[in-house]
């Protein structure tokens, strides 16, 4: 499943009105390399969604104020709406689509039936993945601290907290 050289030209017919030549940027997303043909200042979020068709990361504000677009870049949790393609080219990007089916965070989110509308959840889950990588056994206060910038308008926080605790346990059990 290698797609090197897969470019946004796939959407041919959409790009005929380009007026300025733009550069190719190589993005590594969920283990696959893509060359995208967009201005370097394009927010990573829109490159993921509009060029690669990866719509798991969500637009909630575009200014880094809600967390809906949160994805991992190398080992950091990044607000992809305020981070550009040029900055992240060549790094390892992981979106919610890249989480394995049996990932503890996914299993916990399912078991706790966390989602209401579900729109914020990819961002919540990726923030949780990031937290658990650095802290496999967080306290409630640490969970709150790590996820406080991820808004859930539906109010699922109390299930999110329980799901992070469960994911931590599942992760530790898997490690043993």
């Amino acid at each position: 499943m290698v797609a090197v050289g897969w470019t946004s030209k796939k959407f041919s017919g959409l790009n005929d009105s380009r007026k300025v030549h733009v550069a190719m940027h190589r993005l590594r997303v969920n283990g696959i390399e893509y060359d995208v043909d967009v201005p370097g200042g394009t927010p990573l979020l829109w490159a993921l969604r509009d060029e690669l068709g990866l719509t798991g990361a969500k637009y909630g504000c575009g200014i880094g104020a809600c967390g809906a677009c949160t994805s991992l870049v190398d080992d950091r949790a990044v607000r992809t709406c305020v981070s550009t393609v040029a900055e992240q080219a060549g790094r390892r990007v992981t979106t919610v689509e890249g989480l394995p089916v049996d990932h503890p965070v996914r299993r916990a989110w399912i078991a706790m039936d966390v989602a209401q509308c579900g729109y914020c959840q990819p961002g919540q889950m990726m923030a949780a993945v990031h937290l658990l990588r650095s802290n496999p056994d967080p306290t409630d206060a640490q969970i709150d601290e790590a996820l406080r910038d991820n808004v859930c308008r539906c109010g699922t926080y109390h299930r999110i907290r329980a799901a992070v605790r469960l994911a931590a346990r599942l992760g530790r059990e898997a490690a043993e």
Binding site: F11, G13, L14, N15, S17, R18, K19, V20, V22, V38, P39, W46, R49, D50, G53, T55, G56, A57, K58, Y59, G60, C61, G62, I63, A65, C66, A68, T95, V96, E97, V101, W109, I110, A111, D113, A115, Q116, C117, G118, Y119, C120, Q121, P122, M125, I143, D144, E145, R148, D149, V151, C152, R153, C154, G155, T156, Y157, H158, R159, I160, R161
Partner: protein, 670 residues
């Protein structure tokens, strides 16, 4: 739009392929909600959109129960807008489960009875000897036949010739049992498709420059810089809403809007929401003559609130040259939207298709279709499908807000401290998105559900709304119920009577609230905390809420909330709890700080940075007790917000020693 469940969802994109006629003819489609194929596929068509309230889950469970199949085997299909075919489709009035309960169960039961009749005929035994069980029809001596093998025979039977019986509740195996939502795999894998994820071929994206002040209109447009942005394909003036920049991609549309120069004229650059609140205070109706001495009077001032669904407004429209319109949108009302579009655009209804995607929250806002019209205008202009995306800033600053209101409550109390008479005067605005709502009788019907045995009067003054107002979860009950329960708490505190006992004494003895109050208080019981209590009855459901508030670092913090709820049959208990939890969190947010303010003609708040919606570190533990019931389901989505807000506000008052004077309870209102 089709969503497959579980394993299928995790592995495959669903492509709809036209079925060969012969195969289609063998399908069993006894009604518009259920379809079984001879390959064993079972599809449920969900008439109402899922905005997070769990309509898809409820529909699947209702059909699966009566059809006697594992809900995990069912494929979910979202019905397109077509009220003639599917009945009312609007997500409103907390009615989704309530109104699907009978038709969807009947749909499943009809299919089951036909399959049983087909098996009985094949075996040559009476139907009464056969039973449907887990995807098979079974007979004590003949063995069993899979539904898939019976589909063709069942399809040949006239549904009207077979009596349809619903299962008695004691035989239920699916309804009321713990299970997770049907779309849980889609949501956690990123595959769930919301309106913003629609990607029809050749779709362009538009963002709109909107008036910077209330009421401003476009004077002139300089679009040279916007058109120079690579990827921008058109700049399209919209009626009064503004100017759309249409581009091949979202990023280009956003850059194009940033480069667009619009000169605006008119509008009210002096408008200030604090003045509006003052004016409403002055507009309060005169209190009626009290039949005794008024022992307590309180005034509550409530702010503007925005819906701010997590998925900002958007819609995709494709209007072709030959006048065929297709819309994909996270709408709360696909059927109504289709009818209104046909009317406004003068298109035959058959030429308009509206597909409801998943919606990232609704809370009332997505019953409107303004964004759909914007998409239609853009599509007409560029002759391509166009997705209009509201930015978060658009969404917060151009919402149809919950109206401001001012409430004055008075009570005459008897020797025991219990009120013997009450009055409640309200000054507020109508809902501008539904002109017929400019009627105090309708406002009262929406807002006033006072369940206690205290005679009195409610009078309402409606003033012209200075900005767009609309349905916000619980509508006027969110204001009336809040004021009434906060006032009742103040009366109980004045009488030095326990909040629960006080309410129990005022309720009719047969009220559903009496046991709910008892259950909530008993489950909640935890000493040493400041406690607030409130009740609410609406949509044939009832709820009692108890909240604990502490003070951390000088700030009130909601620590724990317990709600006991009677919603009749709880079709999906996890979903029932989720709706109550959502209402509680709306209450935490709005009581402790979220509000919309207007200064110098502009809405100040533009994102979750300044619209102070609660974060996870402000989220209390929430316990939801679901009362056992065999009544048909009541409504739920809007039930918990008013009493949760009042209970939390009253607990804050108890914690801080300062009486509640409005919402939010800290800082300036308006």
């Amino acid at each position: 739009m089709i969503t497959r469940r579980g394993f299928l969802a995790a592995t495959a994109f669903v492509v709809s392929v036209p079925m060969p006629v012969s195969a289609a003819a063998r399908d069993l489609r006894p009604n518009v909600f259920v379809r079984l194929t001879s390959d064993g596929e079972i599809t449920v068509t969900v008439p109402r959109p899922d905005t997070g309230q769990g309509a898809r889950t409820a529909a699947v469970l209702l059909v699966a129960e009566e059809l006697s199949v594992d809900p995990d085997r069912v494929v979910v299909e979202q019905a397109p807008g077509d009220t003639a075919k599917y009945g009312p489709q609007m997500v409103a009035g907390s009615s989704s489960v309530q109104q699907m309960f009978q038709p969807l169960r009947t749909a499943g039961a009809t299919a089951r009875c036909l399959l049983v009749a087909a098996a009985a005929a094949r075996w040559g035994v009476p139907s009464g000897e056969c039973q449907a069980r887990d995807g098979f029809v079974v007979h004590p001596s003949r063995g069993r036949l899979a539904y898939a093998d019976l589909v063709a025979d069942a399809a040949a039977i006239d549904p009207a010739s077979v009596p349809v019986t619903l299962k008695p509740p004691r035989e239920w195996r699916v309804l009321g049992r713990p299970r997770v939502r049907v779309d849980v795999h889609d949501v956690t894998s990123g595959k769930a498709k919301f309106g913003i994820d629609v990607s029809e071929p050749r779709t362009a994206v538009a963002v709109v420059a909107r008036p910077p002040w209330l009421g401003a209109t476009v004077a002139s447009i300089d679009d040279a810089a916007a058109r120079a942005v690579e990827g921008v394909v058109a700049v399209v003036p919209l009626d009064s809403a503004g100017v759309a920049v249409v581009a091949n991609r979202t990023a280009a549309a956003l850059a194009g809007r940033a480069a667009l120069r619009v000169t605006w004229t008119g509008g009210n650059t002096a408008a200030d929401s604090r003045d509006w609140l003052t004016e409403l205070g002055q507009a309060l109706p005169a209190p009626p003559t009290a039949p005794g001495t008024v022992a307590l009077q309180a005034t509550y001032r409530l702010p503007l609130l925005a819906h701010a669904p997590m998925e900002p407004h958007n819609a995709t429209a494709s209007l072709t040259a030959d006048g065929k319109l297709t819309v994909w949108a996270p709408t709360q009302d696909p059927g109504g939207t289709r009818e209104r579009l046909a009317q406004i655009l003068r298109l035959p209804l058959g030429d308009v298709s509206v597909f409801a995607t998943l919606a990232g929250g609704g809370f009332g806002r997505r019953a409107e279709f303004d964004v759909v019209l914007e998409a239609v205008t853009c599509s007409r202009a560029v002759q391509r499908p166009v997705k209009v995306l509201w930015t978060r800033d658009d969404d917060m600053r151009h919402d149809s807000y919950r109206p401001m209101s001012v409430h004055r409550l008075s009570a005459v109390v008897g020797p025991t401290g219990l009120p013997t008479w009450r009055s409640h005067e309200v000054a507020t605005w109508p809902l501008t998105v539904v002109p017929f709502f400019n009627d105090p009788a309708l406002v009262r019907a929406s807002g006033d559900h006072f369940p206690y045995r205290v005679p009195g009067e409610v009078s309402i003054a409606l003033r012209p709304a200075p900005l767009r107002t609309g349905f916000w979860r619980a509508v006027y009950a969110g204001q009336f119920g809040y004021a009434e329960e906060c006032f009742l708490s103040a009366l109980a505190a004045r009488a030095k009577i326990d909040q629960v006992a006080f309410r129990q004494r005022l309720l009719p003895p047969d009220s559903r609230l009496v046991p709910l109050l008892r259950q909530a208080a008993r489950a909640h019981c935890r000493p040493g905390h400041h406690r607030g209590v409130a009740c609410h009855v609406d949509y044939d459901s009832a709820i009692a809420v108890v909240a604990d508030v502490g003070v951390r670092a000088g700030r009130p913090t909601v620590e724990r909330v317990t709600a006991a709820v009677d919603v009749g049959v709880a079709v999906h208990p996890s979903g029932v709890r989720a709706q109550v939890e959502g209402g509680v969190m709306d209450a935490v947010s709005t009581v402790l700080g979220a509000q919309i303010t207007v200064r110098e003609g502009r809405v100040v708040e533009s994102s979750f940075r300044d619209y102070r919606w609660a974060r996870i570190d402000e989220a209390p533990d929430i316990d939801v007790i679901i009362a056992a019931s065999d009544r048909p389901p009541g409504g739920l989505g809007e039930l918990a917000y008013p009493p949760a807000a009042a209970a939390i506000a009253s607990a804050v008052a108890s914690a801080t020693g300062r009486a509640v004077t409005g919402m939010p309870v800290t800082g300036e209102v308006g």
